[in-house]
Point group: D2
Chain length 263, copies 4
């Protein structure tokens, strides 16, 4: 079994400098802790709570930034939103990500699969974990089985999410690597009226609980000044807290993988 992969970066790409700064910090922290690192950044927030929320750099500018991060020797991941974008995005990134709300859009899944790139699907907030086998099968029907499945919380009342730890081994039964998105899972969707609220202090709690189960990776959004981030600030982890967090997660990962659960 492999060591933990850390998929991390800002919620949205802001600029080349900003992305390089974050990628550099995270890359060093992962190297120091023995984690594999994948840089994450979005070029378009296509489903903001409100129209007043910033959408980001756009595909062209965003892919240039991701290309530059790749040139640092780092694998990169981004999300996309329409089937027609798949090929162009996959020409740059290592991992295409399917947003949670779109996880059942058949054409998007097929387009992602057809690129041959790895595909990370976020489990919809409306979906039970057993349902991800059907989602993965849509991608696998293209002959591409480089699939990752990510938990990011399930709708729990209004403006609430809950992360069910059972979902991780249930999704693991598909045989695909399972990732815990610990920062989106602590969001309060729409909780601030025009944007989402969140409890960033609990992201390390969910990350550790999940890693202790022996999962493949953890997904964390981070910012040097979360309260000024253009999106998802309330649930992002402060960049300066990431090295210690990654180091402690690696300790739990080693123990978990030495003590596999049989579920």
């Amino acid at each position: 079994t492999q060591g933990l992969t850390v998929i991390a970066g800002p919620c949205q790409l802001e600029s080349l400098d900003h992305a390089q700064m974050i990628a550099g910090t995270l890359s060093e922290a992962c190297a120091a802790a023995g984690a594999q690192f994948v840089f994450k950044g979005s070029y378009d927030k296509a489903n903001r709570t409100s129209l007043s929320g910033k959408r980001g750099l756009g595909m062209e500018a965003g892919l240039k930034v991701l290309q530059a991060i790749k040139a640092m020797g780092l694998p990169v991941l981004t999300d996309f939103h329409e089937p027609a974008q798949a090929a162009e995005v996959a020409s740059v990134v290592d991992v295409l990500q399917i947003p949670a709300l779109l996880c059942r859009q058949t054409d998007l899944l097929l387009a992602a699969g057809a690129t041959g790139a790895a595909v990370n699907v976020k489990k919809g907030q409306f979906l039970d974990p057993y349902g991800m086998a059907n989602v993965a099968a849509k991608i696998a029907s293209t002959g591409n089985d480089r699939i990752l499945l990510t938990e990011r919380g399930t709708t729990f009342g209004y403006n609430g999410l809950v992360a069910d730890m059972r979902a991780l081994p249930i999704m693991g039964r598909t045989g695909y690597p399972v990732i815990m998105d610990a920062t989106h899972a602590v969001a309060f969707p729409g909780g601030l009226g025009d944007s989402s609220g969140g409890q960033r202090e609990f992201a390390p709690v969910l990350a550790r609980a999940a890693v202790s189960l022996g999962i493949a990776g953890v997904f964390l959004e981070t910012h040097e000044d979360p309260d000024r981030a253009p999106s998802d600030g309330p649930n992002m982890i402060r960049l300066s807290d990431m090295p210690a967090l990654i180091e402690s997660l690696m300790a739990f990962d080693r123990l978990a993988k030495a003590n596999p659960l049989h579920v």
Copy 2:
């Protein structure tokens, strides 16, 4: 205040004959009961639970069927799934529908609004009813305020939905007409493993409860033989039960509109 609108039809368009038969039956029933009728039919089920589920006629063939229903003098509604489809679909239909899972996709909402057609947005299973004001504002930003907002249930545990009657007056505060989708709200999403289950016997319950609150319309999927329908059979109403249901809903509509709630 206007009388109740009934948006109804099969889950997916199956053939011209089938659509005409259903449209004819429903049109007569609505005329007899004094309800306004809008025919509903999907040309593509773009987010089936599993890849093995039938997707439907496709856009080209589906729009031909809808054109023929229009030629019967009936307004028609269909859902679409990508911004690029909006204009072509709007060249045929009276009402463009935004699927629940896509209700926060900004580009889809803007594309719908830009056609100038009426736009019916299903509230996402993951969204609180107050959040629909932000959704409507995205459409209204195009200068199109012919917007309808539809309740179709909120995620309630795994494979469950619950229809909160408070959502109807809450969405009504936007000033836009509010619709109750009483058949999707009784589905058990993914509950049969490869497809959704449902409790069609409770669709009239939710429809009546909602209509008693004085809403603008009710959305009902129907089939002459629901157990053999290509999708959503478990929660569709038998076509032969529709006339009596519509007639009784009209009685509650009249009473409700004579006794408006002030919320």
Copy 3:
């Protein structure tokens, strides 16, 4: 089929004068509207959110107040909390009520049944509506089948409840009369930290939706000045709003009972 019963009164009994004033107002309103009236008042709030909340008059003083209301020719209902209280309470009241959180306590149900009084059980916030058949069977095992089953909302995330209209006909399948508690169902349990919040403006919404389904009765808490009530103020209906509400509910009741649902 019988006309609607209105079970109503303050959340907690405050004094004889206060109870008589409320009973008188409600009794007149029900008589004018043609509804059957049952006065409701609690002598002990045994499970307040916090120790600082007022518990009430206590059993002895409370039963005296209820006795006086009975002397006005009105049937009375109160809740009790321990098996040993059943007989004494039943010596005064017409209907013993089992609190929602206690609805599975076997000894309490058996003690209530053994008195021979009518027993109204609130469905627990943690219970599915099908489970109420097991609850009723515990009472019926005593030979007492004067049982009423009340919906008052189901846990929906943290500090939230949702009233599922399907629960009413599901509970109705037991053959016992079904009641909608429309004021507790709009509470936010614990939502104010030391006490519950609520949205009293939606109580008439839930009441009307439920009554339109043809249920036996509606349960409403009321106060002449809800914002100063010792408990449950945020979700109680202003006493001066009750006559018009009862009158409109009766209109929906008549229509519902002329158009029975077959579920």
Copy 4:
């Protein structure tokens, strides 16, 4: 910081021999692993799903069994259901337990506190974790601050529960030791119609996730043949699986306590 406490035993006490057998096995396993052990057994299942479910030995016989386990040098815990039972039960047991459904019954909490025994309160399935501060304050008002707070899952749709890992550090902010009940949290309440279902295979998942957060203890029900247990069989852990589970939990406990979370 102290090492992990394991509170474990059968759901209900069946006989002296049975209790001694289980206590002996668990005591050895805990000693071998370095865990502190508290024996758990119920003398009365006072809120079975249905009247047909076995209630148990009763208080008198049950306390004799617990006395015998105590004579083995082991601390014992049991739950009680009415204030009047508190003193007698506390004359035998080390820890009085408040059942989840009764966690807001003020008199029960006060009676437990007044005994001076340690009091373990299960968080209600209907309660948010912040609300447990109010619950603990009721007990502490008696001058007894030997309080433990236990997570056992929150209502999640019908017949479902979900264990929110955030609840553990939230309850920990009270300063009282926090316990994870990993077997009740995998139950499906009422899921089998006349009794609860469950997924015992996920109890070790929730136990490990919780222990990795550095909690005080874990609560586990166990049986040598869970499928024949008189209650809660579907979610109990096989006794023969307990030693390895406890040993692995201790490894996570040591790592967690060497890496405290700061929430």
